[in-house]
Amino acid sequence: MAQLVDARGLSCPQPVLLTKKAIAAGQFPIEVLVDTVTSRENVRRMAEASGYRVEVVQVGEEFKLTIRT
């Protein structure tokens, strides 16, 4: 069961903080929903810098990031 982080409508750094919290909870994969390119890049950069694999899919005008170990 994937952990879901719904960060749509939130501005930075909140999407990053929520994702970090989910990572700390330790249950992968984590699915993060964001609705701006800024949040997408920030979450991706943080997760990749922490050594996780990130996959991005565009869903309509929003993005779903899947974070795996």
Binding site: G9, L10, S11, C12, P13, Q14, K20, E41, R45
Partner: protein
């Protein structure tokens, strides 16, 4: 191609490029006529706009600064070219308006936004060190609130026309700057005849430089507040490398252009009242952190359709009106018969900084999500 460019702008080199370009263009703008150590200052320039419109009557700081309009319009062009324009609004607008006012009261106590703090330092004004230390302190307090669950809530998608309001307002200001109408005898639009407001680069250069910066900063998400916040909050050095590039390049440019003079006393449009330089920027830093962006970033966001950032910008412009009408802004050091008279704040200005700080702290404490740990 567009995706490749997006990844470049999001990279370390992208943000360094944005900082370096600001570091080149700001000292050039000074050389071309903008005030000393004020090649670009978002707070000062919004204050000048407030003055030109007659929202305050401080006759030395009134001018419709095309750089500000360029920032918003350049950012808007960038978002449309890359298909990212997205109108959104509704995340506690009234709070953002007041945060904008408080931010401006703090910035004008110091006499500059974070960009100008960097540019002042790059010109040798050592008072900027106090300002930057205050800025970092304010942001650190903001980070503490963020960690304890502070949030202004979600914005929602809205009509595209909502996102167009700020760019159209800027276009209107630009037309007023071009045609310079006078609405009544001794009335607005006001343009300073002396002082910093009378010093400006040619219109077209200011506008184009502003648009170039707006474009690059939108693509790279350049933000001075975010830079310091990310270092404290998540040990992320991405944004701060852009801020570092700005400082280093601006210093080199100032050396080349002969615009460096080291010292505390008698620096251009600055005062050496250390405590209030520090506290003014502590206030500004906290307000920026609570609102999610430095004044520059708020302009770029309002160009990409963020109605909440636009409200913050309007709060800053109105705050500038209050700041000068109520004599809350810092007065620069003066040289009288060869002796430096230290400027600083009036008692009203000191009270305003303290009350605004308290208001920001109350906002931080009372707007935390219950579910947050």
């Amino acid at each position: 191609m567009s995706e490749k460019l997006t990844r470049f702008f999001a990279s370390r080199w992208g943000i360094i490029l944005a900082g370096a370009v600001i570091g080149i263009l700001a000292p050039l703008l000074q050389k071309l006529g903008n005030p000393p150590n004020m090649g670009i200052c978002v707070a000062c320039f919004e204050r000048d706009i407030a003055g030109a419109l007659g929202l305050h009557r401080a006759s030395t700081v009134q001018y419709l600064r095309p750089e500000i309009m360029g920032f918003v319009l350049g950012a808007m062009i960038a978002t449309y070219l890359f298909g990212e324009f997205k109108a959104r609004a509704g995340s506690a607008p009234i709070v953002r308006f007041f945060l904008g006012m408080f931010a401006m009261i703090g910035a004008l106590a110091f006499l500059g936004c974070p960009w100008r703090a960097l540019l002042r330092l790059a010109g040798g004004d050592l008072n900027a060190i106090l300002g930057l230390a205050g800025l970092a302190t304010g942001i650190a307090i903001g980070v503490w609130f963020l960690k304890s669950g502070y949030s202004l809530g979600r914005a929602t998608r809205t009509y595209t026309a909502v996102g167009w309001i700020m760019p159209l307002f800027m276009l209107g200001l630009l037309l007023l700057r071009i045609f310079q109408p006078q609405f009544s005898k001794d009335g607005p639009i006001f343009f300073s005849q002396s002082g910093p407001g009378s010093l400006h680069a040619p219109l077209l250069i200011s506008l184009v430089f502003g648009m170039v910066i707006g474009f690059l900063a939108q693509r790279t998400r350049f933000c001075t507040m975010g830079a310091i916040r990310d270092v404290i909050l998540i040990r992320d050095f991405h944004l701060i490398s852009g801020v570092g590039a700005l400082l280093v390049v601006a210093f080199i440019m100032n050396l080349i252009l002969g615009q460096v003079r080291f010292g505390f006393a008698g620096q251009p449009t600055a005062h050496s009242s250390h405590l209030w330089n520090f506290l003014g920027m502590t206030l500004a830093g906290l307000a920026f952190a609570l609102a999610g962006g430095c004044p520059g970033r708020q302009l770029f966001l309002s160009g990409e359709g963020d109605g909440d950032a636009a409200i913050f910008v309007l709060g800053m412009i109105v705050g500038a009106g209050f700041s000068h009408n109520f004599t809350l802004a810092g007065s620069p050091d003066k040289v009288v018969e060869g002796a430096v008279q230290v400027g600083g704040l009036t008692p009203a200005g000191m009270v305003a900084v303290i009350l605004s700080l308290i208001a920001c702290i109350v906002i931080g404490f009372t707007m935390r999500e219950k579910s947050a740990s």
